[in-house]
Symmetry: C2
Amino acid sequence: MLETINIVKPAEIEKTSMEIIARELHGRTFPELEEPIVKRCIHTSADFDYADNLVFSPNAVSEALYAIRNGASIVTDTKMAASGINKKRLSQFGGKVYCFMDHEDVAEEAKERGCTRAVVCMERGAQVEGPVIFAIGNAPTALIHLYELIHEKKADPVLVIGVPVGFVNVIESKELYLKSGIPHIIAKGRKGGSNIAAAICNALLYQA
Amino acid sequence: MLETINIVKPAEIEKTSMEIIARELHGRTFPELEEPIVKRCIHTSADFDYADNLVFSPNAVSEALYAIRNGASIVTDTKMAASGINKKRLSQFGGKVYCFMDHEDVAEEAKERGCTRAVVCMERGAQVEGPVIFAIGNAPTALIHLYELIHEKKADPVLVIGVPVGFVNVIESKELYLKSGIPHIIAKGRKGGSNIAAAICNALLYQA
């Protein structure tokens, strides 16, 4: 039975996958710097909705690439996204990945203040030195609180990747950014997730 | 602007999300033990395709729940899935999560033998003591090699969660299981991923 499977070598799988994705996009074109990001989101989910739901603010990608080359770090709201980001590649430029979600003192502080851990994590993230990209793949409350921090001039990210997934507060949290001047890559609607957040970060890293 | 968002408390978000999912399934019913798994996959992806593409072999869930309650461990092919699985809950029953992908000696052995790391990882997984659930969210080569190990009687998992995502070898790797007597939960077609693998594991853990 196994003989009937023509096993493609791992090194070739990504190339072949990207060719299939390009073919099934039926000649649709995207801005040059955005295309690898759209394709990697489709690659990581097998979901062509990402051809339509990703929104890029003007120069979001070029400015993020510049920041990465200059040692930008990435702050994310989930351990899963932190696991998926290519940390070796990021470290070659001098950046690090930060996720504060499972720090014990974060849980304690959130309990004391009666807020979510995501809120405390965004505040910790805002204190990371140097240029910072925020990649939010899970918690809409993180995305909302980050928006507040930016407006209070307590955070100044070079890019906000806003791709929480779900059914409650998610669309609203994303719309805050779509209407704003904050540099962003947003997955409109309900879709997204830690895997999509990591895919977008990696697509940036592979272009940097 | 923020005042217009009616922020739902995190504790209530999951409950409300599940209610929305139930509503949008328009009265569709699933077998009692399978329903929480289908809903959690939709919850984690906002993708209702999982209402149609998940296939459960007979008694797959009840036998997995029995194994978890008796200390089953989970072997997975990605660090992202390992990050996402509720390890605290699993450890309450005595089980552990294993992912061998980034072990240095795995990379070395794969290089020496001219095979993929995923292949070596499945062999390591087959040596884990006690009942084992395999959760494959990324590498079709892992799913295919696991199938070979089972047929060679070198592995005997209580359940195979086969949800690699992608465009090459993925559908074929899943079809091996659909035709087999191996206990499985498979996401038919191209979709799946580490997030889906973790979601299925967690849905099992929350029922156990």
